[in-house]
Subunit: 253 residues, 2 copies
Amino acid sequence: MTKDKTGPVIILSHPQMGENIGATARAMLNFGLTELRIVNPRDGWPNAKAEAMAVGAIAVLESARIFATMEEAVGDLGLVFATTGRDRLMSKRTATPDEAIAEVTAEIAQKQLCGIMFGAERMGLTNEELVLADAILTIPTNPNFASLNLAQSVGIVGYEWWKATHDRPEFKVPAKYRRAELANKEDLIGFFEHLEGELDRTEFLFPPAKRPAMVQNLRNLWHRAALTYQEVQTLRGIIRSLTGAKKRGKRDD
Amino acid sequence: MTKDKTGPVIILSHPQMGENIGATARAMLNFGLTELRIVNPRDGWPNAKAEAMAVGAIAVLESARIFATMEEAVGDLGLVFATTGRDRLMSKRTATPDEAIAEVTAEIAQKQLCGIMFGAERMGLTNEELVLADAILTIPTNPNFASLNLAQSVGIVGYEWWKATHDRPEFKVPAKYRRAELANKEDLIGFFEHLEGELDRTEFLFPPAKRPAMVQNLRNLWHRAALTYQEVQTLRGIIRSLTGAKKRGKRDD
């Protein structure tokens, strides 16, 4: 919950199932979104089923604010998007999640509070609610099966928010895979020539007219594997072992 | 289910709750993914709870293939990603969903079958299963609350697949918002001068030293609104009405 990256407010209109509210809270917190507002939840508030589905995101539910109407829920917000499926005929411009999040991110950088509305499970947002939004957010989906689960929609918007506000992760690379320890070309060429010498000896690279293409294909294969220095030594040990140059049980790699 | 865009196979390892399998099927079909494989589902197969949660994606469940082991499930596949949370120490390279999908899309274009593994709800994939994959797929999340729901993860990967394989949607724009019907500059300037003339008359644009900045701010406001020709006529009617140039009930716009 980094305060310097407070995301858009997520506003659920008339949600029916507590499970979906809980799953929404979980998806929000997965992507660093913490401010939830709920307009008129069908089963009242608090909701035990929501809490059960939120897993560790109870804090999002506990700090959720409940409103009687969408007008009140968006009263203090600047830029607001309304999430709808495709082909909703509205006299508003429509954005994809990444486009909408780009706008939201820019507004939030200017200290504007922003919000994203999501409609009830079956009916979506009413036209009166849509009118309160600046623009429509539509998640592109399979037109033959377009209806997304509520928490799934929130999760995808949250995912785009996280992507837009964080650097691409730098994954920990195990030491032996670090670039610095990749075999250098001298090591590789030594290995190539070792292998090719043995294959010449056993007449695998035959007939001579085909040798250049065979060698090239093999070298391409090894390059693709992005071998480390240690792996090159292992492969050379294997060659020695297979050719009988080393007795079994006496690896020197 | 467009056959020309058959996506990666989704492989669930040892899923526990039928609800999650059903929600996965729904998320898959939302983004055009139809081939589901399941390794050793805890509660057997078929699963009534999965069917209840799949909503209209029953066909994905009906055509799902059940395997006893991950080795069998990936036997016919080329490029395979294994989905894990962050900080899983593995001697494999790691990709974000969009990076992984870019690779999958390129392989599928070469007629390669590709797959993406997802682990069981709590334990994730075993090390033995990870070893069968070419690379790791990690969805970037809030490090303090990283655990994504299974179907949520599948949905995000599916969303990236849909984005990568479809043009950015061209949303239907209502006729009155189409670019061709935006007011041209001549219409706008006529409106500006009409309004500013009235405001000079009522001494709103006062004192004269501040007039240029006030006019500029107002003109910027109207430009931001991207007015249509019809809206400009409406605004001019409003000015006439407010100034008493027109009687109420006699709109000429």
